[in-house]
Assembly symmetry: C7
Homo-oligomer: 255 residues x 7
């Protein structure tokens, strides 16, 4: 479909193009893939989330460009794309998680929470008078909450939510820019008995594949485990992890 | 009707073209036929649903691209087309099925449930300010629920719902891509005394006609029977069914 | 009015063209006349409704393309045009018929019911934000219900409702494709002392005029009588009626 | 104002053209003048309403193309233009007439009723999101109702309501096609001591001026008198009136 | 501003043009100035209102094209422009006048009433989804009602309300066509000790300046005085006033 | 930005142009600066407001083109621009002032009142479906009301409100046409110990700078003082003030 | 993306361009960067806010062009861009701060307050029928309020809110025009042990970098400290600070 024809169908969320596409959703996806990457890896007992975000000035507090957020004690999210849109989705997810405590007296399921969010996203792709969200999320956590251990519960899970409102579950994945190369690193490195430390290393090395110069202060990393719930890593912890990675890489090259 | 003329009438769901067509609905149908196929077959005592869905990465959990869903103990659905749109319809159908239990204290009829869904779809093709759903459903189950056995009840039924909101009942059919060839296989193979196993084989061989390389992990299959209600097949079960099919095909070729 | 000028006025239901036409309504009529025909004939004591509908596959259950519906014990309807739109009108009519029982404790009048439907259709031709219904109905039944016998009551009546929302009462008529030839057969064959059997024959021979190859399984036929109310004919009954017609025609040719 | 300029201002009811015209209202008037004529004549003690309407098939019940309607015991209306639009106005007028009985316990005034209708019509010419009504009405009756005889009451009155929502009172007038010639016959033949019979003759001869071939079955005629209220004429009565007219005309020619 | 540029800004009431104009309001004013004139003159103790309106047929009741209306015992209005729009404004003013009696137990002030009306008109020039009123009013009456005599009260006042919603108070003025010549006659003839009779003569001679052939039946005249409130003149009274004027004019010419 | 480009962004209040301008607001400002000027001067103990308005006919009552209005005992306003829009703002301000008495039992602050008005104006520049107000106001009065004398209270204050909804406080300023020359006169003549009489002279001489022929009847002048509150000047008072000014000017010239 | 293409996507807040941008938000940012600068600096124990605003006339009260506002005892804000839009945001923030006192009986957090504001801004970038806010804010204050001293509380914090609704936390930053050069001065001069006086000097010298001629009366400056809360500087204080800066600069040059 050529330019002038395409323009005929991309002016509203309530229009299909003749080939069955919804252009406004595809443009929102473009907004996501032009942003910095966020990566999630599920390990045997945890979910690791990491996001890259470069402050535009050294006077900017790096926490304020934070793209990883705690949603509840047992679940967190990483975002990519338009920051203000992502914040709305994060707020929406938090309200849903709180509402679950109030209504049912228990921690919301990771899958359930993801679907609340994707339903909300989808509605903005079908009704007129609004635009789709220009953001994607990774939602990771412990199914059933951190205090539960029966059946399905206690198991780490990782989901993505894209601007069309489609949820997917992953062993490991990336949203935002550099998708192809980062996903490749994840596919090569992932196995189902990853320890938490291995998961952290996999996340960081995948991001380094995309940006070799990556520095600790431009990274934020969290892990969610059944034992300790949502925990955020300090910049120093990230720095030493990066250093170890570099040593290892140097060692490998030497060999 | 040529290009520039057609464009005059395809910008909204609340417009007819001079030849009485609603283009937005036809474009939504196009969205469905560009997706992977989902097939349904009614056997003497069951309905079999199967869908093809290829994960974009080996790290994606294949259940999360699941296109077959349990709606109630006695009824399931397979979808084709825009995933996020299909999920909204699945959710709508589940709420309707639950509501029936609450209001009438009994399992919703398969036909009744299909018509709730198609009414909802049709409304989105007539009012402005929204677009049609870019998804189609197969809804299959046991009329009257799995515990009932009088009259009409206990009988397996299979319906389709398309983006215009038209319901049809089928002995066997396909939604999504590859319609022509798959429907042909179904027409050749279907008879009204199919056993469940024969139904499973018919579904799988029709999908293999469309994609010879089809693999078990890219398939999901469910059956709904009056005895056991909705049951989902494990990947290994699907794999052995596929294998048996191939052996048979090889055997036939040999002959 | 030439093409490009016409286009200026056919984009919304809330616009007249300079010559006082409402194009969206005319396009909806076009949608009706491109569909298969439905025929209604009023006999001395009954109304006969018949519709043609060809299943797109032998695996489609022909009842599910049914275009004749019971609205109440004493009244039925046949539709033509967009199937999903017609179903909405049928549902609307059923709710109105039920509401009449609840509110007034008696069966709704055939004329009254028709006017509820046409008022509803007209509203969709005047307000913005919606499109007209792309369907027409024949509504036939026993005025006053099947248990009543005083005055006007007990008398068979047949109405049509078109996409503009105009009701008309008929002795016999056709909606959908093939209007001219079918109406001609009806005009030739109708007289006011038709027996039910003669009515059935008139309906079927008018449809055969339009499509000589017509077969029983592609036809559905109902009759509404003061004695028995709404009754649907089995495919075998239709087949033997068609056969008798053919014999007769053959006989006439021989003569 | 030439074509392309005019088009700039005729796309909505909420727009004036630079010369202060509301084109959508003028197009609605065009819809009226392309329809068949309806005529009203006020006699000394009655109002006579007559409308021409040719059934499109001899199988159509001519009452169902009726364009003359009883609104209340003492008042009736004749319509011209889009039939479905006219029916909405007739229904609106009936509800207003009934409401008057409920609220004030008395028959609605003919002028009052006309103004309820024209106010309703005007609103559809000023707000966006709707189109004007494509119909005009003649409303005739006995001021104050048929049982009242004091003061103003008991006096026959005749009003017109056009698509702009302007009411006018008339001694005799015509809405719909053939306006010029019919109004001329009325102006020549009307005087203020017309008997009911003379009124009927004037109405019929004015319509015959427009269509010499006019036949009784394509005509409907009603009269509203203070004695008997609203009365509809049977086809036979109309036929004999027409015959008498023809004899008279023949007699005049002979002379 | 040339044609095509002007068109860019005249399609809605909610748009200013670059030179700060609201074209839809100006077009509504054009609708007023293309209508017949209505004139108001304030005399020492009264307000005189007169309007010209030619019936389109001698069978039209001239009262029904009445453009002068009683709003309350002590206040009346004359209109110019679109008749149906003017009627809405007259109705609105009457409801406001009645509401004042109900709420405050006293006659509404002439200025207050005018401002209710102009506020209502202005709102239709600012919000989208509607068009301005295509009508202007003259509102004249006795401030404080006809029974009051203290202070400001008892004093005759005359206001105009134009399509922008601007109120002005006048000694004498004209709305509708022929503004320039009629206003000139009023300016020459008005002085602040006019008797009622002199006021009537001034009104009639100003209208005669615009249309020399003016006849009594095409005129309607009312006067509002503190003694008698709103009074309408009979056609005969107007005829003899016109005659006297003509005699006078003839006398002057002779001299 | 050239013509055709500018047009792309000036059609709605809810659009920014690429250079961050809101054209509809700028066009509304243009509407203000094409009107006659209104001037306000704050003296040591008072605020003086003056406005020029030429009646279009000597029969128009000059008070009715009044552009200076009392809002409360201690505060008044002068307007410029579209008269009907200005009246809405004046009414809005009066309701706000009254509401303050009702809710808080005290006179509204001049600054508070101005901000109520500018908030209201701003809302009409951001939401769609409406246009900005085509009027500006000067709001002047005694902070805290005329009976209060503690702290801030009792102090005269003068504010302007423009079509963007921006409030400014002034020692002296002008809204409407002739802004540049009038503001210059005000800047030259203002000092912070102006007496009321000097303030009146400054206002009048600034207006004379803009229009040398200015006459008392085309002017309206009010002053608000802590002692007497809002007081309007009679035409004779204005005339003698103008005369004195002219004598003085003549005297100066002579010197 | 070239001009005419860009125009296709910048007409509404509810549209993405093909490269995932929301042009209306970018144009609103342009509105901000064309305004005068506002600067904020966080010192060890305080936040300093300063804004430049030149009065258009010496008769304008400079406080009325104030761009720094107290939001609560412990928090203030500086704005840049469209003044009327900024005032709406300031009002919104004040209501949120007051609401926090009412609902929770404690001072709102600086971060919480910022996020209330940015959520509100974001909503105006996603829904149709409105435009984004053409203003940015700096929000600075003492976390936890000025009376609190435990944990996080008592710590100064500074946030920015831009027209997309994105919040960022800063050590020091600038909104409005001259961003690049001012941010550079801030980056050079900031360290984490700044005293209040050093903070004031840094703010003023950064603004002087942008406009060498800057004068005290065109500046407004506030500081928020845990001891004294929000305090506004008098013009004389600012003047002497500027003077000191100039002396220092002169001293440095001499050296």
């Amino acid at each position: 479909m050529r330019g002038s024809d395409q323009q005929a169908y991309d002016r509203g969320t309530s229009l299909f193009s003749p080939d069955g596409r919804i252009y406004q959703v595809e443009y929102a996806r473009e907004a996501v893939s032009r942003g910095a990457p966020s990566v999630g890896v599920r390990t045997e007992n945890a979910v690791v989330l990491a996001a890259q975000a470069q402050a535009s000035s050294k006077l900017m507090e790096s926490e304020s460009i934070e793209k990883i957020h705690k949603l509840d004690d047992h679940v967190g999210a990483a975002s990519a794309g338009h920051v203000a849109d992502a914040r709305q989705l994060i707020d929406f997810a938090r309200r849903m998680a709180q509402g679950n405590h109030l209504r049912y007296g228990e921690a919301v399921g990771v899958e359930t929470l993801t679907k609340y969010v994707t339903d909300h996203i989808q509605e903005n792709t079908q009704r007129g008078g609004t635009r789709p969200y220009g953001a994607a999320l990774l939602i990771g956590g412990i199914e059933g909450g951190i205090e539960s251990e029966d059946g399905e519960d206690g198991r780490p899970r990782l989901f993505s939510a894209d601007p069309s409102g489609t949820p997917h579950e992953w062993k490991a994945t990336i949203i935002g820019g550099g998708r192809e190369e980062i996903q490749e690193v994840l596919e090569e490195g992932w196995h189902d008995e990853l320890s938490l430390e291995e998961g952290l290393n996999l996340v960081l090395s995948s991001l380094r594949e995309h940006d070799e110069e990556i520095e600790a202060h431009a990274l934020s990393v969290s892990a969610i485990t059944a034992e300790d719930g949502y925990e955020h890593y300090e910049p120093e912890e990230i720095a030493s992890l990066l250093e170890a990675l570099e040593d290892e890489a140097a060692g490998e090259e030497e060999e």
